[in-house]
Symmetry: C2
Subunit: 212 residues, 2 copies
Amino acid sequence: MKGLYLVTDRDLCGDRSLEDVISRSVKGGARYVQIREKDQSTRDFIEEAVRIKEILKPFSVPLIINDRVDVALAVKADGVHVGQDDMPYTMARSLMGPGAIIGLSVETWKDVEEAEALDCDYIGISPVFDTPTKTDTKGAWGLDGLTRIRAFSRHQLVAIGGLNSSNAADVIKAGADCLAVVSGICAAPDPEAASEELVGMIADARERMDRA
Amino acid sequence: MKGLYLVTDRDLCGDRSLEDVISRSVKGGARYVQIREKDQSTRDFIEEAVRIKEILKPFSVPLIINDRVDVALAVKADGVHVGQDDMPYTMARSLMGPGAIIGLSVETWKDVEEAEALDCDYIGISPVFDTPTKTDTKGAWGLDGLTRIRAFSRHQLVAIGGLNSSNAADVIKAGADCLAVVSGICAAPDPEAASEELVGMIADARERMDRA
């Protein structure tokens, strides 16, 4: 997991469709897309996921479904992201198979430690900064927490929560492999430009680190 | 599908646990249990389903999960019940396998016709009578609708919606194979006695029909 990871929030898309925002974000360089829906019917979620899978196909961008392994299996998505209130990781792996991308949110140090025993594809450091778009998480990790996890964990780290162009470079520097962005793209006036800017900042920060 | 089918609604259980109500209902003779949860986290739903599966095991009562194929797969439930806003039947069948019990709600005549082409284990006639416990359905079928479906459909018919001891006999007479009951059991002062009474009424109504 490297680069920019779009996590959707349809409420932030304003009068644009979710499909439009996603399409523009991948054109701007997002490398992964996770769709997160909490209030839709299963049928609507599946139909949406089918449409988004078609959008992503020409870009070879993996489609990752938040929480709902049923939806992921139904549409043959590339993976799922599970939080600590979702299906336990090992169950999700057993249902999704060894080839699926499965990410797991860590909200406490205990979660980080337990994740060491799991063969997840990444852990989601959630949230790095406090954010109004997700309110069911515990305290923010901050850059210090991220650094501490980087030193400890064998996993790829996807940072999420309050990430935008003002802090993207610092988050990469603190140890994130990949930046998951919600409102910084979904609520951006131009999701393509916002994605391009973030992709550029991630690449620059990584280049500076490689050089150092 | 014959006899009494408990469909749960935790809000109707009052100060009793869902597990307690289910346990008493199967002691009273319920032959199938469907758990329906709309507001729980996936993790909580899975943990609940595991507990309920243990309760049902000694009774050999199948556990059926409403809507959530992920939860059903995770706990190896016996089946799922899908409505018209849930996962399409053929997807659910392909994920659950040929041995699973899969029921499908029919709310319109078009649903009934389309179900003829499907190998579902039963169709849920939803709702037979108007009910406050489920508000996202179309108009009630009534006894006439049930009779009309019985004459047309090759499927087993599970009647649901507003069923209780005052109408159970008529619903069997109109053609239902099985009665799915929500508030008539979950909100009953004594779920075991309520289940026993319904089981007795179903058996009596069927006996009268066999004799006629």
